[in-house]
């Protein structure tokens, strides 16, 4: 009986460990909420309906006209920003969206786990 309990505990542990490598549950968000300008501190992100966007940080003495462009797509809860460099190289960023409505955009960086909390600038 003791062996059975021990084996059961090991299996349970392994199952927990193995199961922890599985995908998390996905959510769906209305992409229309994303269109427009969002702000987190001095960082501004602006999403256009054509899949383009641009970002700028006013603390770096940058205005929207000098913003850095990117392309984006939202699939389920996965928001991908693709930043193309001057020579064609790309820097993708993957964010997992946790909240998206007309005033809030909350997500975290899939790699670093860093959370971001944006508020809508151009409220309807």
């Amino acid at each position: 009986m003791k062996k059975v309990k021990t084996l059961s505990a090991i299996l349970l542990t392994l199952s927990v460990l193995l199961c922890s490598c599985g995908p998390a549950n996905e959510k769906y968000f209305n992409v229309k909420y994303l269109f427009g300008e969002w702000k987190e501190g001095t960082v501004h992100d602006k999403y256009s309906e054509d899949g383009t966007g641009h970002t700028w940080d006013t603390s770096d003495d940058i205005e929207e006209a000098e913003a850095t462009p990117f392309e984006w797509r939202l699939s389920h809860d996965t928001l991908v920003q693709n930043h193309e460099l001057w020579n064609g190289a790309i820097v993708p960023k993957i964010y997992i969206v946790t909240t998206l409505d007309s005033i809030r955009l909350e997500c975290y960086d899939m790699v670093s786990g860093i959370e971001h909390h944006y508020t809508k600038v151009d409220l309807p």
Binding site: L18, D57, T78, L85, W86, V91, P92, K93, V111, S112
Partner: protein
Amino acid sequence: MKKALKIIGISLACLVGIVLLAAVIALSTVTSPKQLTKMVKKHAPSVLPFDLQLERAKLTIVKTFPDVGLELDRVAILSPMEGSPSDTLARVDKLILSADAKHYLKTKEIVVNRCQLQDSRVVLFTDADGRSNLDIFKSQEEDTTSTPFDLRLDLQQVNLKNTDLTYIDRRNGLHGEATGLDLDLQGRMADDDITAVLALKAPALQLQTGGLQGTARQLEIGFDGRFDDYNRLDGDLTLASPGLSLVAGYEVLHDDQVRLSLPLTLALDTLAGSLHDARVALNEMQIDLPRGTFRLDDPDLVVDAAFHTNPLDIEAVLALLPEKVVQSLQGIRFTGTVQLTDGQVSGIVNDSLLPVISADVAASDAVIAIPQLPYPFKETELHTHFDLDLNDSLNARDVVLNTTWGHTKLQATGALTDLARKMALDVALDGNLPLADLKPFLPKDLGLKGKADVKLKTQGRLDYLMAAVTQYRFDNRLRADARVTLRDFAFDMDTLHAVAPKLNLELDLPAARRVKGRSGAYIALTGETLRVKGGNTLQADLRTLALRGNADRLDKGLEALLANADLDLAQLDLVYDTVTVHANRPALTVETRPGKRNGLHANVTLKTEGLEAAAGSSYHFDAHALAVGGTVDQDKGKPADDWLHHWNPSADFVLTQAKIRIPQLDKTIQVPTIDFVADARELGFRKGGIKLGRSDLMLEGNVLGIDQWLANNAQAKASDGQVNGTAPHHDLVKAELQVRSNYLDLNEIMDLTSGLGTPADSLNNQEVANKEDNPFMVPKGVDVTFNIHANKAIYRNLELNNLGGTATIKDGTLLLREIGFTNEAAEMQLTAIYQSPRKNHLFLGFDFHLLDVQIHDLLHIIPEIDTIVPMLKTFDGAAEFHIAAQTNLKSNYDLKMSTLRASADIEGANLSVRDIASFTKITDMLKVSTNGEYRIDSIDIQMTAFRDEVDLWPFQVSIGKYKATLDGHYNLNTVGQYHISVTESPLPTRLGLKISGPLDNLSYSLEPCKYPNLYKPARRNDTEQLIMQLKQQIAQKLKENVQ
């Protein structure tokens, strides 16, 4: 004169006729006046050929005692002529004739010895054909030869009182009027000889003939002498008038006091005479004529006389000169006194000619004012001998002049010829000239000080000399040698000042006398020192100055200037603000001439044997030699404000063995040789090389379109009020330059140039850009390409071979394109871009590829990789590295972190483990067995940087039977966090390891496996599929740029 004598002779003959008539009457024993009058009237027509009217005749003894006289009252002699103002030749109120009674009684001969006329009116008229109202006496003269009386005329006294005389000679155009004339003539007539003393007084006299018109007041004429054979006059003639006026084309005399004392002889037949010890006085002027001859050769009077004067007022003398002589003086005014001695008057006097006058002249305390000169010549003492041809010219020789001009004492010797027209000079002049006296010749804002010792020799005309002095117009017929020593020289103009203790100036005209083939004026200026200051910032010291050159056609504008100038200095020291320049033996040559485009063409060369320059105490430049050869070609068709195309400068600069030191560089920049040419449109580097430390660079190529770029800038400045560097694209400055090097030590260059161009205070400034920051702003409107090739370059410890590529600056973008090189560690390729849209928003991007590089070399080449992927230093072996990045920069070159984007790809296989301790710790925790082999089969890493975050995208590592997937995240401002998932293992467990914390103190802990199926395509979820797609795109995009 002949005419006058003839008239006198005829008049005398007429008197003889009257005397004869009187004698007849007397001899007829007439006793009463009535009877006597009847007798005269009765017998006169038979005796006289003209009508004689008289009122009364009577004999008188009282009035003529002891002689017997015949007194006739109101006598009129009629001689009507057409055109004559009167039909009466003479009308006399009282005429008294005297005869010696005793002589008559003894010899029966009537001798008339005295004649008196009172209150007479005489009209002498000659018509245009030469007929005179005196012709009535001709027949009488002939008839007297047949008279029965024995009559002889021996007049010893003739008196006229209050006679009015009118004399009209229309044939000769002569008209004379005398009123109140008194004449007292005493003498003796024996045969044809007359001894006479004449005293004539005329209160008013007018005489006019041709262009000559004269009047006299209170005229007194006297003669004491003989008149022999009715021909030869010998005696003293005097004439005096307090108011004599004479107009001969111009007003020669105006109511002037005249006194003449003329001891003379005169022959009437030849009308020739002589003078001795005569004196002519006009007002205060007195002319003594010790001897002289004259001859009247109608219409000429030929004179030859010696004379001398008392001291004469110069203005009074000049007032007597003919108008054309005065005009020839060209407005020159004279005052003072002049005395003429040893003079001579020779020549002809008539309506159009005047004689030649020569004399020794001594002028004292004279003032000569020449209109073209600002100051008169004062205190003038002049000794000379002049020859004045009143018809032509005035010459002066043996001139010795001492005078004061302004504050200048001048001494001059020489000769002046043809003063009436050419005013030719042959003068040697010595003077000590205060330069301040030249101020009237100079521009108003130009000042000169000092003194000039002037020695001048000149030959030529005064107008040439004045043209040279006042208009800088040089005539080759003017010869001049000037040697001037300037002492304590000072020049001031606006903010420009020049001083020199001593300068020597030589001026020669014409220049060809000094340099064959040159024209205009030759000028040589030498001096030991000359200091020039411009405001408070510029100072130049010139030592052993030697300027030699010539200039011509200065009066015709700059474009016509013909000039050559050679400036040689032993040494030039120049200070401009904090900049100092020292040049040894600089030599400048300038040659100008009219160009082909109606403007000035100039050739300029500059050479110096040694050149040093410094800016403050930090910047220093020296060169063994500098040579510049250039031209300026003025195009008057282009506006002057478009100076580049207006002047079209072109120059060839050759700099040899130069050294440049700047504070930002520890090393000296050495320039063995730079040879470049520049003109309005092109800058061409024929040969240019520098050495910086151990590195060398050679530059060749051309830059085009500078002129248009400058014009656009000027236009932009004019329109915007500022230079923004913008220019239309079609006006780009284009250049393609070859940059070659045998050896480049990039470490040294980077160390030397670190912070170059960045203000020191901004290097430590961690805050937002300062206004003082001065980042490199890429010029717009230029298209410059540098083709770079270095045989060998050293970067860190890497030896780079065949470093090559292009660097272009085009319209605001600096692009390093495909800079490739090889070394033992790798083949490398770099492309970089730099833009400067505004000072505090710069842009930098690069694309760098290392092919077949050893990892430890990679970490050595780019140490920053170790910061991003710290575990990379754990391995070693061949790898391939690609990285691209971009960011905006602040004006102090600090990163604008929000704009940082970078992606990198590292691929390797069969890597060895170098950090066995860390490797063992990780494998032990993950229960990975290495069996004592510390190798990694392969890695394939993609990294991206976004803002201040670096993501290490999940990648797989193979270690024998084990496979693990790693990812990581590193915040540039905080700490790193990494994860390792064991995805393949002989063991059933799939452990995960979390490594986190500061890189130098990482902590390790187990955690769930994060990527169990990432490298198992069949089991990937959507997120893992996305990750793998992005990883592939990152790598693919990076590699696309590999050439």
